[in-house]
Symmetry: C2
Subunit: 258 residues, 2 copies
DNA sequence: GGGCATCATTTGGGATACAATTTTGGACAC
DNA sequence: GTGTCCAAAATTGTATCCCAAATGATGCCC
């Protein structure tokens, strides 16, 4: 309880165990017994039980016989698979959404998200708080979409699969944070958000689905590609002024080269 | 414990609660407290906790504020949505599978499943044991596909979503069981299995995915359509003889036109 | 009489005690 | 030497107990 994060302990344990699986503290094949991990993490069996079940549902553990669970091999491409599954599900969501139409309140909420994202690019320079603010807006945008698609089962499936890739990325991609490529990556993500929302409004379910499926990979492939493109280049940005609608939110940037 | 099913009580409670949600024993909006449902079902809070969390992950419950969970409205179209989600995920699985190819052991296993399915149609007349046998083979076929796609996360997501539509169907579709339409429905399902396997072997991921997505709806739409087609018609089936390969498992029907 | 604060009750989260089951180790017999 | 059986240890499943937090009600003060 001396930890800074004041979550509900059960989530803390879940995140901690997922992290330990991903960073190799619990190597593949390790048998996780409830009592063992309980005293290992300093809590009782109750949160451990919940975490183990959740991790098994997320595909990180599988039962070894009738006794206990074992850590599964998590390969680098598994993160891509997880992202792809998430993209497939979210793509299905926006396709449905384009078919049934946006309710006014939802439409307004989504617009506000994107406007705030655009304001972020226009008014603030990149930094840790920038990334944090964008992350919050990003989560808001996506979860609004999930809730709007009017299918509790689909929403649950997406929510289920949302933590997995995030956990993987946080565990693997933590060290490298180049501000310039991050900025461009987020700008691409924001632009994809705009395309998706416009496609939904136009009732173009196919396009919304395709872009959303691609959008799922913005965490990995795009960062890589932008890094290659910007390698050794001088990049400058200026805040975009006069942003009357969402089409104008294409920023120009200024910064020092790495 | 006087029940016939000797499962691990936790699963029994989960199935029981899901059933009660679906058949209206727990109407939408009902607040499910751990203690209340515990004494309602005659067990302690422990299995209830697990069941409530699982049902929330499946999309049947959502938290009402910070206190407790409430039964969500389960509309008839939600079953279709759940089936669609499952179809999307399984479609993704077979698409991947067509890309990476079938390992020999998996290929043989799938072949055996389909051969046994075909034998079923050839050697046995329709009845309860027929449906049960087919159901077993169907589950075997699908879970073999899931395991083969080499993505633990995807497999977990599919397994997660597999119980939901089944539970819904068992709860809703129990009364109507017309043997002739059931026979044809299973025959269509079997044929789709064959098409999917062949598409995977040919590396045609797009076709495998499309057919699998359609196959997800074989439980509902097809039964309905076959029922309409066969309405009032006399249907007789003869066992197909001389089935040397899987192409021959197409039954012949004879009857009067509507 | 209304608003706010405080207290009680409800409820979920966590810990622990208990039961059932399975695995594993060893010993004994063949 | 090997196989089988029994017992003990380990581990999960289940029940109960405690506690913290939230919600609703009641009373007091303004």
């Amino acid at each position: 309880m001396t930890d800074m994060s004041e979550q509900t302990a059960q989530e803390r344990i879940l995140a901690e165990m997922r992290m330990r699986i991903l960073d190799g503290t619990y190597p593949p094949g390790t048998r996780l017994t409830e009592l063992g991990t309980a005293e290992d993490l300093g809590v009782s069996r109750t949160p451990i039980r919940a975490a183990i079940r959740a991790l098994a549902k997320e595909g990180f553990l599988d039962r070894s016989g009738a006794r206990g669970y074992a850590v599964r091999q998590v390969r680098p491409e598994d993160m891509r698979h997880a992202l792809q599954v998430r993209g497939v599900l979210e793509g299905e969501a926006v396709r449905r959404l384009a078919g049934i139409g946006l309710k006014p309140t939802i439409d307004r909420k989504l617009s506000e998200c994107l406007e705030e994202e655009a304001r972020l690019f226009q008014e603030h320079s990149f930094g840790p708080d920038f990334a944090a603010a964008y992350n919050r807006l990003n989560t808001e945008f996506h979860s609004t979409l999930h809730r709007a698609c009017d299918s509790p089962q689909l929403e649950a499936a997406i929510r289920q699969m949302s933590n997995v890739p995030s956990g993987m990325i946080h565990a693997i991609k933590a060290p490298e944070k180049e501000s310039s490529q991050e900025y461009v990556r987020l700008l691409i993500a924001h632009t994809q958000h705009q395309v998706i929302l416009r496609a939904i409004r136009n009732g173009d379910g196919v396009r919304a689905e395709e872009v959303m499926r691609e959008h799922a990979f913005v965490r990995i492939d795009y960062a890589e590609l932008v890094a290659e493109t910007l390698a050794g280049a001088q990049v400058t940005t200026t805040s975009a002024k006069d942003a009357s609608d969402d089409r104008s939110a294409v920023g120009k940037r200024r910064g020092s080269s790495p």
